[in-house]
Amino acid sequence: MERTISGMTRRRQVAWLASITAGLAGAACGGDAAPAAAPPKAEPTKAPVAPAPTMAAAAPAATTAPAVAAQPVKVTWFAGRDTTGFTPKQVEEFNKSTGGKITIDFQEQGQQTSDLRDKFILVANAKDPSADMISMDVPFIPEFAAAGWTIDAERLMTGDEKSKFFRGTLDGATYAGKLFAVPWYNNGPGLYYRKDLLEQGGFKAPPKTYDELLLQAKKLQTSDIVGLSAQMSQTEGGIITWFEYLWGHGGDLMDEKLEVSVDKGTAGVESFKRLLTFMYTEKILPEGSLGYKTGADAQNPFIEGKAVFLRQWTSGLTQNDRDDSKIKGKWDVVPLPSLKGDKAGAGCLGTWNLGTSKFSRNPDATGEAIKWFTSQAQQKARYLAMGVPPCRPAVFDDADVKAKYSFAEKLKGTFETLKPRPVTPYYGQLSANVIQPVFGKVSTRAITPEEGIKEMADGMRKIMKG
């Protein structure tokens, strides 16, 4: 017992230091979650459009902006990554069009869809007004609506406006009978293929069935060119690749009553087995595709001329003709193959929508911006510039569009048949906690398809119980 701090015995001193050391570490690893968890237990629901009094006081220009217009109203847009750089240009144009009344602050929130979701969840949980407008993937709609983080978009759809959108895109943006966002751009998958290679190989038509796909891919692939490229990573995009095979085998994650049905029948196991066969037995799908985290990752080999077939969103079509492409004029696109080939394979609905955060201080200005971006003129501009398909059928009939995209007519039909992912507020959790990890385990052969389907069904049921 020699030197001590403030008369503490060495024994106490040691224990004290131990607890501080651990305390700091503990605080750093989990404790800092605490301040964010502070919201009161049962806050009365406020009328969605009217911000809380304190908020209004803090932002006087909020709702009456167009009339007062002393200060421009800033609308912060939480968006996904735009690799083409077109959206920022559109934002500039919008800012000019309002005559300085509304300016959009365009903020990309990361490369993957989950990055954007995580970021908005963080902000919405803190009831923070730093996000006004949010780009929303289909599963965000029920999730955010049920949590009370977005306000409904019925106000933006007056008159017969709704009839001017694809029915499916509106369904995807609806929760509990109310529209929560406006469809902004459309997306669905296609099977891209190399016309020249198929001709050389003597195939008259692209594959209509999974077996034909396998046959052609295997025949045409070389040591340098893979048969098939697709996003297979443990991400939302990766599990969508599998969903399409699951649907193609007649299965589904949930039935109409939103009861877990992935383990009913054999579709789950068979669809996994087909992908595993493609990857490990027949080797038409490279193991490297397990690392493709974005659609662009899967498309790059195709653009470089190193893939015969590609499952990719149709929003990527124009990339095939970009300046450094090695396959200009050598490609085409068809609907996905199916099990029997009698009809096109089911593709996943990948619409993106624009919604308004409930904690926005400028919901009216945000509404104006949403209307502008989802207008026919802007959807057309976006389609022409980026190749991102519109949510309004009329755009496909536009003369400029027809002139630029020979495939536009063909695409229009595929958007009528796209299938949404389960419309439940639990989807985000189901995907992140169960479906993605199980997909990761099965696709890397850590577990068998049978074990995977069982683990997935059990895990999903557990989450649905709450």
């Binding site: 800092d32 979650a33 490297g288």
Partner: protein
């Protein structure tokens, strides 16, 4: 003074007794001076209370509730220690995360300690270009983890990673492998990245410890005819023991907090093969919005760190603070 006797052992009894002689006897009365000292440290203690103990207490409070912010206006339900019971009895994902964290803690620390000791011995020697070598060794530590994780992602890349290329050239593999998407290899790939990043930290601490060892001990040993190995094993190693324990303790705590590396490098995958305790906790809180259950997980991790720190400090005698004063 048990620690010091242990540390100096038989080789340094004289030094130990010299130290003991200089240490003043403990004063029995609580003097005015002591009160004044307490007054002086009060602001620091207050700061610690605010940044460490308050969040800790609040997190514990939250861990007693079932809180799901997934749905609007869901009431909080008080469940007492229920969240902890669930974690221990019915949470395979937690057990998996514990196993992952444990594997990293054991292998990472072992590798870092061995490599760190080698680097420290190199850095501690006087030779031309020592500054350059020291700087080179420290570069990995100075990089932000997110940056180095991104870098390793590229190194391990399945189609163009340099790691694949090296193994191909060496003839170890016959085709490129997706190293960070494999249920077998991923955790080792991640441990490799972690060892690369944090070995310099261990080396730095060990070098600092080595520089405190009086040179005359080595001179005396050399005169007595001790070999290089003897000098290391009987002088460097025992005198370095307190520093080693501190370095290992800090690293151990770091492993429990490990979030950024798996977050960026592997996302915890494939499946949950590299999901650490912190990453799991983060996800439960921030993406599932289960603040109660997540706080209980954080509390559990805190307990594990507390026990670890206690064992290191109390049982093994790591001088986290206090002993330095005696030097």
């Amino acid at each position: 003074m048990r620690i010091w006797e242990d540390a100096y052992g038989m080789t340094a009894t004289t030094l130990a007794s010299r130290v003991r002689a200089t240490v003043p006897r403990r004063s029995v009365q609580v003097t005015l001076e002591a009160r004044f000292a307490a007054f002086l440290v009060a602001p620091a203690l207050l700061a610690i209370a605010l940044v460490a103990f308050y969040p800790l207490g609040h997190a514990f409070w939250l861990s007693l509730w079932k809180i799901n912010l997934r749905f609007e206006n869901t009431p909080w339900v008080f469940v007492g220690l229920g969240n902890y019971v669930d974690t221990f009895t019915d949470d395979p994902r937690w057990r998996n995360a514990l196993r992952v964290t444990g594997t990293i803690a054991f292998t990472s620390l072992l590798a870092e300690f061995v490599l760190g000791m080698v680097f420290a011995l190199v850095m501690n020697r006087a030779f031309r270009g020592r500054g350059l070598v020291r700087a080179a060794i420290l570069i990995p530590w100075s990089l932000t983890t997110v940056v180095s994780a991104r870098m390793w992602q590229v190194i391990y890349h399945a189609s163009y990673g340099v790691f694949n290329r090296m193994l191909m050239d060496l003839g170890v593999i016959d085709a490129y492998k997706p190293w960070i998407i494999s249920p077998v290899f991923t955790i080792w790939a991640m441990i490799g990245a972690d060892v690369w990043k944090t070995t310099p930290f261990v080396a730095l601490l060990l070098t600092a410890g080595m520089q405190l060892i009086p040179g005359e001990l080595y001179e005396a040993a050399a005169i007595d005819g001790a070999t290089a190995w003897d000098r290391f094993w009987r002088i460097t190693f025992p005198l370095l023991k307190p520093t080693i324990l501190v370095a290992l303790l800090f690293r151990m705590i770091d492993v429990f907090r490990m979030l950024d590396l798996p977050f960026v490098l592997t996302g915890g995958g494939p499946g949950q093969a590299t999901e650490t305790l912190s990453l799991y906790t983060y996800r439960v809180i921030f993406t599932d919005l289960k603040f109660g259950a997540g706080s209980a997980l954080a509390g559990t991790t805190f307990l594990l760190i507390l026990v670890t720190a206690f064992v290191f400090i109390k049982v093994l005698g790591a001088p986290v603070a206090g002993s330095e004063v005696e030097r």
